[in-house]
Symmetry: C2
Subunit: 204 residues, 2 copies
DNA sequence: GCCTTTCTGTAATGATCAATAAATATATCT
DNA sequence: AGATATATTTATTGATCATTACAGAAAGGC
């Protein structure tokens, strides 16, 4: 059944995607409403009618980022048969994604809400929670590898997961300074160089 | 010889230190003039007379950070006799500094200017350049180790330096989410687990 | 003493911020 | 057609931003 009233003249999903790109490049605090409306091709009242406020628009944009760009990066974690290959491909996908010439460098979530005073609390909480969930994803993958008998049971999965997630976060900062794939790939390779030590049996 | 005119009623160095703490916690974009003047205990005209403008105050605060907090963290790099111990102690000093309860978590420089649109270009350039200089410090230490015959000559010092600097940058983000020493130390340990592989002779 | 110089407090500047009021336009429903 | 509902455009709101005019205060030089 069709909607009542005047139909909106823009595509909501397309406008959201454009907003996401602005937040990705400029951050919450650097993305003015003027910049957002210009990129989205709409006026402020249309933005508020469709998305509520800047804060809720950001939260939607973050979810969209997670479900598009984020999904690409994290796909390897579940498709690769072995944990080592899963993490390695995850880091390489990160290096490739963060160095794309046609998108902002680094991750919207990793770089978001790092200065509490500059963003609404809900934004700070949302990105922080998302980063925590990403650590959990890595930990779960490592736990699965233990359950499969692939890794020793006494591997500190929380510590290893935190290490790889933290390397990925650092790659976002590196990507902002030096967006070359080569530099990012060196970091990914460096992190994988720790694999054998981090996943060996802790008993002597 | 004493100065002409009314003497300033506050200690410039103390005011700068307080400004540094505000920028450290809130970032350039989150640190309003109102917050700065409140923390510094002075009014806006005094701030402008003594420091020029917000941008130049930030640049001075960044230098102060580098010469106080930064120096503590990087001291190990030059005092430790061997490269491995130098890097290891550098990362442990980072974990300790970033988890201090009485200071903001993470690094002013690592977290600064990540969103170009939110800060003046000069601020963005200054923090980015500083991050680059930190990579160079690590690389120089590794080169010295090669010169001392401690490491094989074909170690990719730029890549290894970039890896360790990037881990440290990631630790700033982790410290904002979870400021515990334990988590940060796990990451430091994870990075050191890569040492042997990263510094072994590349020839087979 | 007065003059000059510099700093301090108050109050204001114009710019930009996110968010909205009012009027008009375009659709469905009866 | 007329009523209702939603969207759009233009212009505006009050808040906050960094910065500064202005007048009074506190020092040295004469």
């Amino acid at each position: 059944m069709p909607e009542k009233g005047r139909p909106r003249s823009f595509d909501r999903a397309d406008a959201l995607m454009r907003a996401m790109q602005v937040f990705w490049e400029k951050g919450y605090e650097g993305a003015s409403l003027a910049a957002l409306t210009a990129a989205m091709g709409i006026n402020a009242p249309s933005l508020y009618a469709a998305f509520g406020c800047k804060e809720s628009l950001y939260l939607e944009a973050m979810e969209l980022y997670s479900q598009t760009v984020g999904t690409e990066i994290w796909a390897a974690l579940e498709t690769a048969p072995k944990a080592r290959e899963a993490i390695s491909r995850f880091l390489d996908a990160t290096a490739r994604a963060y160095s794309q010439a046609d998108t902002p460098h680094g991750c919207l979530i990793a770089l978001g809400g790092l200065h509490q005073a500059a963003v609404p609390q809900a934004v700070c909480d949302a990105v922080s929670r998302h980063r925590g969930e990403n650590i959990a994803k890595l930990r779960d993958r490592l736990e699965a590898a233990i359950a499969a008998g692939e890794l020793p049971a006494n591997v500190n999965t929380e510590a290893v997961a935190t290490f790889y997630a933290t390397v990925q976060h650092g790659m976002s900062i590196l990507a902002r300074d030096d967006g070359s794939y080569e530099s990012l790939k060196h970091v990914a390779d460096g992190a994988m160089a720790a694999w054998d030590v981090l996943t060996r049996d802790g008993k002597h």
